[in-house]
Every structure is written in C-alpha cells, then in structure tokens.
Symmetry: C2
Subunit: 263 residues, 2 copies
DNA sequence: CAGTGGTCTAGACCACACT
DNA sequence: GTGTGGTCTAGACCACTGC
C-alpha cells in the first residue's frame, strides 16, 4: 500500500501526479503518510493507550524512509493525537492516564495547590434523551429535532460546588448512556467516552463570557443569585473536525481561575 | 565559534563532555544552536521584522549541518519567535505586521465579523510613575517600592467602550513613556513597545475570572454597576521568561467573547 | 536566473527502556 | 542485548520569491 507521491524526490524515478488543472495542491509525502496514519487512528486499528507500529515498520509498510514517517508522526504528536516515549514507542493519546488529570479543564485553584482538594466530586442531576434545539443542532452539526443526550451535573472540589455543567451529546453515538456511567466512572469524562463509546475528543473550541447567576443556577452552586460566573461554552471535536459534544459550564471564580497561556 | 556538543555524532570523532557528576544534562546539538540563535535575538543582532541569516549561513557559522540548524529554527518558529517564509527567508517575529492585528487579545465580537468595527479606539485616562505595590512587584519580579509606570485606558470598538485596562510596566525599561505614545501609536501597543523601547513580548500567562463592575468601572465602561465583567490578568514576558508587563483588563462580554482553542 | 526554505533519502550513532 | 525513539550528517532535488 504505497502512497502516491505528488512529487518525487526519489533519485532515479519521476512519477507524475494526477491533479485537477488550476489547483497546485502540492502535498508533501509526509503529509500523505500522516493522512494514512490518521485513517488508521480513526478506524481504530490502534486503540487509545496502545502503541502504534515502530517508525521502521511504518516506513516499510508505506515504502518510504524512516525520516518521512518521523516527520508525519512529529506532526501528529504536536497535535496531541499520539505521544512519543523514547525507548518505548509511540502511543495513541488518551484522556485517561494523562499526566494532568483534566486536559481540557483549565480551572485552577487560586492557591495553585492542585491535588489538595483531590478529584472532582460529580453529582449528575439529569441525563435524558431530548430533541435538539436549533442552537444545539447547529453546534453538533445535526438537524433540529434530532435525538441528543442532555446531561446536567455539578462538580465540587473539596466539598464546594464549583462548576455547573450542561452537556449535549449526539444521541446516535452515545446511545444507551446513563447517569451511572456519567457519575460512576473514575477519571475524566472524556476517558469514559473513549472506553464506553469509542469516541476520542482531540480538539475543542471555547467561548468564554462573564454572566450573572440566575436563581436556579445560584441554588445549585449554593451562591447568591446574580453572582458573577464564568460561562464556558465548549464544542469538542473528534477526528476530522466532527463535533461530538456541546458543553456549557458555569464556573465559580471566587476561589478558582481559568488559566491560559499565550504565545 | 563552534558549539561544544555534549555528545558527538560525528563519524570518526569522539569528543568527551565536561559535565558535573550526577547531572545527566544531555543537550542535543540543535538545542545548543537554538540557544545561540536565541542569544543573538535577545542581543538585538537582528531586529523585529528583519531576516536572520539563511540556514546555510548559520550552518557555516556554527559549523554544523543545515539539518541541525533547521531543527533549531523549527523550534524557534513553533514558539513564534521567528517566522519562516519559503523562498524569502526566516524573519524575527514582530507584533506589527501580524496577520491578525492583536496576537494576545482573544476577544472577538459575537457576530464573528472582525474588521466591522475597525481598530480599537484608545483613550488613555492615566499614565503615571508610581511605586510598585507588593502584588505588582511580585508579578514583575521587582522589589516593592521600585518605580513602575501605571497606565489606565479604555478601548472602544465601533464607539462602544468595551475594555478597561490597567497596565504596570517596569519603570527602568520604559523610562520616558507618556500618554501620547500610548494613545497615538497606530497598531498594537506591543508593536510600539518594540519600536520605542526595544522590548519584545514573547509569551504571556492569563488568569481569567468573572467579576462584578464597581461603580467607577461601570461609569468608565458606561454600563450598570455590578454588571458581570471578564477579568483578565496577564503577565507578559520577554526572552528568558523575564516579566515586563502586568495587565488587568475588564472585558464586556455581552457583545464579545473570549475565544480559546484547546488541543 | 540564483537564493531561500522545504522535502526526501540513507546511513551512522546516541539515549532510553525492557528483558 | 535488542528494539525503540532521538540526533546528526551529507547530498539531492523541489517549490517559491524576486532579480
């Protein structure tokens, strides 16, 4: 299964390329290899946490040099799709066994002392099948009225309710999900999605605002109504930029803050 | 000016390494080259926007192969310290001539329509020399009482005041700064810092919270007191992780949102 | 056209982890 | 020791830019 290089740097050969006229569309070999590896990743040829074949093996399989495979894997690693470990191999990234427990949750205690409060205590308030409202459908690339799972839960740190979250999940991919799974799983929710539903979140976009708590929200978080809360609206994507989750979190930021790095 | 490789991969040579006992401290050649290039960047050997020497030139200068220089530059490019442009050269990154006008400002209009409101209108309310309070001193790695510049300004989009910002700058590096500079410069404030003070911001950390506007803040932003605002506390760093600015912004998020990407 | 960064190869050796 | 990823080199050719 050799790729079709769009240009050839092989000494001696000169394979031409089939291209639509007018589209330069030059694609380096390593990008094609990357795409092939990505396909195997999507297809589940290697499961999260498992090792992928060695660079030499992949080079042989795709009939390219190790250096080309290396560059393809380099990009996958920089996108956090795989993790390289010297001497051991390259592994499919997973939300479980992440060094920092929550890869997508950037809320930090002001003290900076992470583990003091231990893991979040989850309380699932609701987990039901509904029909997608227009807004939810748009975010998840569904049609209005399509089945979605709606989850509402509270996360507490050290006994203090800190986050109120609403989640919307495509009904088809998450068929059969229930409150016990949402509450009972030890570890990140995204890790549970991998194990139970084979859904790997690889990327997310967030829109952050400051809002005032309404009466119901205030009651659930045990704060005064109209208290300022951080509203974090997240769309999480699997491979190929397919949206698989819409999430709206309300964070208390009197004891925590959202930490971000710019470069 | 050849580097001292901590290990040698040269065929034929076998240069041993001077290392403190007990410290493995293996550092690849390309990291050493990267550090050397970084030194030249800091020293101002090449100014923001200028081209650095070609890969071949640098390879000759450091007596290493082009591939090694390439890998060093690759890392600098991934850290946004330089920008590569095929066929033209590698250029020192700058906050001016940035494709997106504000590299560190992640506030977007909800409409998504960027340029509609045009560039921000700046109103400088204050620009004075003060002595660093404990908190400011800590953030800027100064001693309490050291001179700092304090700036307060309002940014408006399409005539609507949207951001209220307080800035603290080390008095020594920004000696002589005044309101006219802060208000009059066309383009990002960080670009002005490069041109006028030779200070290049390379990286920043932000702590984000939701807060309620106090009476004064509300008046300046022409909103109701206690309205929820996004508080963005930023420390910006030059080379070598030296903090050069503390900034606290209060963002209206009824018409805009803070956009973030996770991966 | 020459010069720049970008791609690709092939082979050698190093650092690390397991057995 | 063996196998993995990581580093380094040398040389060839490709794509893009501007003279």
């Amino acid at each position: 299964m050799a790729p079709t290089p769009s240009t050839s740097a092989d000494s001696g050969t000169a394979s031409a390329d089939i291209q639509s006229p007018g589209t330069p569309a030059f694609s380096p070999l390593y990008q094609q290899i990357k795409a092939l590896i990505l396909q195997s990743l999507q297809a589940g040829e290697w499961k999260p946490g498992e090792a992928i074949p060695s660079e030499m093996d992949l080079a042989a399989r795709f009939r390219v040099s190790q250096g080309t495979v290396r560059k393809a894997i380099d990009e996958l690693a920089s996108e956090n799709l795989v993790v390289r470990r010297q001497g051991k191999g390259t592994f499919v990234a997973t939300h479980a066994e992440q060094q920092v427990q929550y890869r997508f949750l950037k809320l930090m205690p002001d003290s900076g002392d992470l583990g003091s409060a231990g893991p979040a205590q989850r309380t699932v308030l609701e987990c039901k099948r509904v029909r997608a409202a227009a807004e939810v459908a748009r975010a998840l690339a569904l049609r209005p009225g399509d089945p979605v799972i709606q989850v509402r839960r509270v996360l507490a740190f050290g006994g203090v309710p800190t986050i109120l979250e609403d989640l919307w999940l495509p009904g088809n991919a998450f068929r059969g999900i229930n409150s016990e799974q949402m509450a009972g799983y030890h570890g990140p929710t995204y890790a549970m999605f991998e194990v139970e539903f084979g859904v790997r979140m690889v990327r997310a976009e967030e829109k952050i605002r400051a809002v005032g708590a309404d009466v119901q929200q205030a009651a659930l978080l045990k704060i005064e109504p109209a208290s300022p809360l951080l509203s974090v609206e997240r769309v999480a994507y699997t491979y190929n930029d397919v949206p698989m989750e819409l999430r709206r979190g309300l964070y208390r930021t009197d004891t925590h803050h959202y930490r971000n790095e710019l470069s």
